[in-house]
Amino acid sequence: MSSLEIRHLKKSFGALKVTDDVSLDVRSGELHAIIGPNGAGKTTFISQLSGQLASDSGDILLDGQSIMRLSMPKRVHLGLARSFQITQVLPHFTVLENVAVAVQARSGSSFRFFSPVAGDAALNARAMAALGEAGLADRADVQASALSHGEHRRLELAIALATEPRVLLLDEPLAGVGGEDADAFVAGLARLKSRFTMVLIEHDMDAVFRLADRVSVLVYGRIIATGTPEEVRSDPQVRAAYLGEEEEEVA
């Protein structure tokens, strides 16, 4: 398993410091949750890690190797996968094809022009495996645009799994998923814990405290606390800045 080290990472949009000198160690094999109020810069941070967004300064190390200057596709090839908060699927592809094309990215050249890909048993088998893990195997032949919201979230996860990541960045996998669906989803994530190092951004506090080994709190682009769920929960600074406000909202 792999570790991710973030050193003094910065990003500004104009005068607005969205990521303000963030340093963080994600240990090998842990599920590290990042929580924070809306607008704290969580999605920006994930986008910087995945390479979708260029950082202004700082460094990101995957297993001790700097990936700061690499493009998003190159980072994926080193084993850094992400899922999106706003579902990013290929709407006119079937569910299976959405996942198979992700498998294909990691197995063999995509500059093959003549043999039909639809019948590629190896690709399809591995795609089905990923779909199974995400609990979507029975919907494999449905067009992705026809999925329900909850199923889209599962597909998003299955695609990320299919890239065979060493580190998985999950941007609010539970966004908009409610009730029983959410419970099943959390159970699914818990099963994955033993296999990947994970960075999880999530608003659902129940899920975070059930899943996370450690939690970091991001407020206005700064990490104000890192620790076990219990430590973070009892940190007065965190309660003041974030949790209290959240509980009020809920109440």
Binding site: Q52, M72, V76, L90, V101, A105, S110, F113, S115, D120
Partner: protein, 330 residues
């Protein structure tokens, strides 16, 4: 982003068999044309037919990047030009073999597509359209200033290309069937490409480039490869056009021609390959029919285009479907 360029581009998922079936029907009709023309004693049909077949090749090649890659290239007539001039220039040096001429056309087209594509694909949307248009125009002006081959006025071919040393293509029927055979072969190639690993990645980039990057693909390389393939195929259409007209001129590569190629692809429904073939047939027949009625056929063709875009966004295929649906409802 390119994904915003053609929102309705994503074709309805048709079973592959449908795509092939439509093409087979078209091919069968084409194959029956020369005997019918002979029976009617009107060989002119065969010449028009050859022209339609050549444009069908070009439109299908354009569909490969327009329909499957969401790249609106407005400079594809340049490749028609490379094909026609490869025939003219080589033949003026005594090289008449159609394979050598085609190889030269493909070589030049590949180079041009590689360089201009690499620059154009760094941009998106409106930029891409305008830059490909400008590069097409660059090629156009190059051939206009090529005074050794008539410049603006064009250049008549002394003879048609030879096939395996024989001058059989001088026969209009033989040329027609050679063009048809090439169309069928290239359709098969396109069909395979679209269904291959490469085709799946290309289509995925059309659907959602961000997603494709996030699973490890760099869109640029795939788009560029498709752009080059498409350019090379289009130049093959040029080789047949030159033989059909026995004349080459920069008019083959004007920006109007590029626009007409796009019209053909859209007319038949984009991203279907067989649609581009049907679109080429429809556009050229419409042109012939309007041209026979009035010298101002462009006015009506333009009007038709504007109305089609405003009222039937999915081309003739969409129009047919609309009418069919309405019929079913009533």
């Amino acid at each position: 982003m390119a994904d915003a360029t053609i929102p309705h581009a994503a074709p309805m998922r048709r079973p592959l068999a449908g795509r092939v079936k439509a093409a087979v029907v078209l091919f069968a009709i084409f194959a029956a044309l020369p005997p019918v023309a002979a029976a009617l004693d009107d060989p002119f049909f065969v010449l028009i037919g050859t022209r339609i077949l050549a444009y069908a090749i070009a439109a299908m090649a354009l569909d490969l990047i327009l329909g499957y890659g969401a790249m609106v290239s407005f400079g594809h007539a340049a490749y028609l030009g490379f094909g026609t001039y490869a025939v003219a220039i080589l033949s003026s040096y005594g090289v008449h073999d159609i394979f050598l001429q085609t190889a030269a056309a493909i070589l030049v087209s590949a180079l041009f597509a590689l360089v201009t594509g690499a620059i154009s694909l760094r941009t998106r949307g409106v930029y891409f359209i305008m830059i490909t248009l400008a590069f097409g125009q660059m090629a156009f002006f190059f051939f206009i200033s090529l005074s050794a081959y008539g410049g603006d006025d064009g250049y008549g071919l002394a003879q048609r290309s030879t096939l395996l040393g024989s001058d059989m293509l001088e026969n209009d029927f033989a040329l027609f069937y050679a063009t048809l055979a090439t169309l069928v072969a290239l359709f098969w190639a396109c069909h395979r490409i679209v269904g291959s690993r490469f085709g799946r990645v290309l289509t995925g980039i059309r659907e959602n480039p961000t997603r494709m990057e996030a699973i490890g693909y760099s869109p640029f390389r795939f788009q560029l490869a498709a752009f080059v393939i498409s350019g090379c195929m289009t130049s093959i259409a040029g080789v047949f056009l030159a033989n059909q007209a026995e004349f080459v001129s920069p008019a083959f590569m004007s920006w109007h021609r590029s626009g007409e190629l796009i019209v053909m692809v859209v007319l038949g429904g984009i991203g279907t390959l067989s649609g581009a073939i049907g679109g080429a047939v429809a556009a050229l027949l419409l042109e012939e029919a309007l041209g026979a009625l009035t010298e101002h056929w462009r006015l009506w063709f333009g009007l038709f285009l504007v109305l089609m875009v405003l009222y039937s966004p999915n081309g003739i295929a969409g129009l047919v479907k609309q009418v069919a649906n309405r019929g079913r409802k009533s």
